[in-house]
Symmetry: C2
Subunit: 519 residues, 2 copies
């Protein structure tokens, strides 16, 4: 083990240096106090930009050259196309053609469609990736093959890191379903419409150079401008930037599993019986099968009770859109559209509102939206008896998922994780999670098919539900029951000493380390 | 004369120091090159803000105290209520009660309703004002009574000054017709609806502390959030923040003067005959009587020709709204609503788009909207034979008007000043303007009732109109004709040596000095 490691406030060993920069160990929720000032971009002048507002250049390679692409730079992209992105790979192909090496790729997330980047990691064009790695790139990183450390940040943590100057973006490339020659851009219209572009907001505001890539160039002005052309240096038009049908998360189908349906229903019942479900309340649920089922159950309860939400947070799906269209919520505050109904609704309905990691999740702001939400329902790969939860690694230690807005959402007034008590005969409730992504003090309720565990820190929730018919049990009891069924504790993953990635907390401190898997 | 004065690039004497800071003399259009980085606000943390998002404090005085109000600070306000603002005076009344002295008031503009600030200037609560001074405060400044120098900036120049750190705002107070407890705010709804809040954008982004004052508090979320609550520290609710019926500019009535109507019609004919009036074109006209009449004539020509504008820039009025609603333009890109039809349209019509000094006018950005506009029609108090124009002082030397977006608009592809050749028997075309607000090289056409003068630098416009029936004449010829009618050259204003204010150019350099009037 090369890295100098220290124990952080929750007892996890974390490196004191990450990719050549000092790293601060996690100090506890709300304990780290930032100092200093936000990072400040260079002052530009209109004298350097075309008077007619036309920033179009012939192709991506030209734009990268004009932007001064060179060895060691940091290149950022957004992931609103999810697994349908057609731009990121082309950036690094162009960089390879230009003979550039050692780039840092800073995507807001990467997906299986980005597997070709492995070739660029192997050849040295890309040095390492900081950002969520879903699938093949996570697997590659897990096996210790990447030169630098993977750095996993939440959506809010990514904004914070850019804003605070922890990550300096040299060139941001923003794939935009519609744009004008000035660089105003949105995700609402055009053949590749993906909804919104909020994940690219920080990139547009703080990168030295900003390139907008579109397959739908319209005359100025592109309205609305989710990305403001006043931050943009160059515009590139190409045939096709994304496959919007692939923005659909693999998991955006309501679960059909009887156990998961039961978990979803129990979760909705908990929300009702704890007194959270009342007129004007707010909730956020993910796009996983159980979360979607939860939203459906909740919707039925809302109808029965004759109540309406003030707002629902997206990732939006057809199910949230239906709630909005049926008048069951005043607003959807959306950060990411997970299906094409979400895209349509955001385009057509002014009450389906475009948000960004700045408004929703940035912990180094003057508050954010996340802590205002009454209840949030999230997934997890593992939870431990101290309510710490894991969302990035599997129980075999492999890094296969990003954090998304998960950490940020933990700040809601009530955080519930509806999870099966085991998956593929592997227990989900464990003594200690493989990777801590969320400190237990922020996780309030675990709902399984074997009962509901309330965090002892939430006496208010315990009191509120004590006379309910909900199957509330200590978390240890559920864990023991599962271990009895499968015949003992689960195997520990086979991990080496080498740290391959770190998980940052929302404030930029290091929450945990991810180790090389040995297979 | 105390100040050290130097001649700038257009031969005007300007101070090298303004209010204790070094000042850069104007170097020519596009010649000054900014260096360094934008100013960077302190990094905040959500740990310091209420989890439930409720930032409401009991009253304005409490908010100012919590924001750390103390001697010598800079307090900013916006002017979307124009002469109907009820908040700014209360700020300085509260400051007086708190015994605070020597504040700098940094409004985006001040109006006659702010005359009570004179008492605070006299008593020492306010040290000086940097910002447009329409009416009594301008008169006060003109007479040399203010302790510091008045600094006049365009809307874009104000954004630039804040962004570049030339003006550090300690506390921004943003009067908002609708807001939520988190500080999200807009000007669209509520009893005091004024349309938009773009003039407060820089203030929200860069001030140390931001106070939103509203008379229409709604539950989170206030949608849309023209001002983002993530920048806001405190929210104050008061009975009434503004009188929206007074946002109507005193001049937003179509002129009835036959001469001015003729000037307006000639201007529209010039735009047509010069080939500017074609499908997909764009224009901006002010809210003055002649500009409004121009828009009406233009509209008729557009109908006759069967063409449509791509966009029209506001300040919006009922006349622009009619064009939008009749399908004569795709968009209104609006920076300021000048009447209640403008407010309504912006609230109801997604193609009536909220812009800001950042998008439209900031010269220290990666381009801005102003230079994309095909033709802009502006007023002036004086024009000289070199096409330099004045918009802030009268020919008696009195500072009575702000610059607004006037300087920024000069960057359009064709700038036309339709002006009467004399007012109250005082010639408007002169040998040398009292105050240079716009360098002649950016002013293309002067339209008077005695003929049209084209700037010799615009050979393209001369060529385009040479076969037209337009009464095109040299500017000197028009000037001489007027002098013959009134019997000689106009009297020079009686001015002292003392500089009372400076006019900044859009890049922060000093374009001209304004001298004390001697009466």
């Amino acid at each position: 083990m090369d890295e100098k490691m220290v124990k952080n406030a929750i007892g996890r060993l974390v490196p004191t240096e990450v990719n050549g920069k000092n790293a601060i160990p996690f100090q506890g929720v709300g304990k780290f106090r930032p100092t200093g000032r936000k990072t400040a971009p260079s002052i530009a002048t209109c004298a350097d930009y075309p008077d007619d507002g036309n920033k179009v250049v012939p192709d991506l390679k030209t734009a990268l050259q004009k932007a001064g692409l060179k060895d060691g730079m940091t290149i950022s992209t957004h992931h609103h196309f999810r697994n349908g992105d057609l731009v990121a790979n082309q950036i690094f192909d162009a960089a390879a053609e230009l003979g550039v090496k050692d780039l840092m790729w800073f995507p807001s997330a990467s997906f299986p469609c980005h597997a070709p980047i492995i070739d660029h990691l192997e050849s040295g064009v890309v040095h390492h990736i900081e950002g969520s790695m879903n699938g093949p790139l996570g697997d590659y990183c897990s096996h210790g093959k990447m030169r630098g450390l993977g750095v996993l940040r939440s959506h809010g943590g990514r904004y914070q890191a850019v804003q605070d100057g922890e990550v300096h973006i040299d060139i941001a490339v923003i794939a935009a379903p519609t744009a004008d020659p000035f660089g105003n851009a949105n995700g609402l219209t055009g053949p590749s419409a993906c909804g919104l572009l909020g994940f690219a907001l920080a990139d547009s505001q703080y990168a030295d150079k900003v390139i907008v890539v579109t397959d739908n160039l319209v005359p100025f002005p592109c309205v609305p401008w989710q990305i403001q052309g006043n931050y943009v240096d160059y515009v590139v038009v190409m045939d096709k930037i994304g496959e919007p049908e692939k923005i659909i998360s693999g998991t955006t189908q309501i679960t059909k599993s009887p156990d998961r349906l039961m978990i979803a229903e129990l979760t909705a019942q908990f929300v009702r019986d704890a007194g959270i479900l009342k007129d004007g309340f707010s909730f956020q649920a993910g796009a996983g099968g159980t979360s979607l089922a939860f939203a459906i159950f909740l919707k039925e309860m809302m109808k029965e009770m004759g109540i309406k939400a003030r707002f629902v947070r997206g990732g939006s799906t057809q199910y949230l859109v239906q709630m909005l269209e049926e008048g069951l919520t005043d607003y959807i505050l959306d950060g990411q559209t997970f299906d094409l109904d979400g895209v349509r609704s955001m385009r057509e309905n002014p009450n389906h509102v475009n948000t960004s990691p700045f408004t929703s999740y940035n912990y180094h702001g003057k508050g954010n939206f996340a802590s205002i939400v009454d209840v949030v329902v999230l997934g997890a790969t593992e939870v431990d008896v101290n309510f710490n939860a894991n969302v990035v690694t599997h129980s075999d230690g492999k890094l296969l998922h990003g954090i998304g807005g998960w950490q940020n959402c933990l700040f809601s007034k009530c955080t519930i994780l509806p999870i099966p008590s085991f998956r593929d005969r592997i227990p989900v409730i464990v003594d200690e999670v493989t990777t801590v992504c969320g400190p237990g003090e922020l996780i309030d309720v675990i709902v399984t098919e074997r009962g509901i565990a309330i965090n002892p820190k939430r006496q208010d929730l315990i009191d509120a539900t004590k006379n309910s018919s909900l199957p509330i049990r200590p978390i240890e009891e559920i864990k023991t029951e599962v271990e009895e069924i499968i015949g003992g504790k689960p195997q520990k993953p086979k991990l080496g000493d080498k740290v391959v990635a770190v998980v940052k907390w929302v404030d930029g401190t290091i929450l945990d380390s991810i180790y090389q898997v040995l297979e």
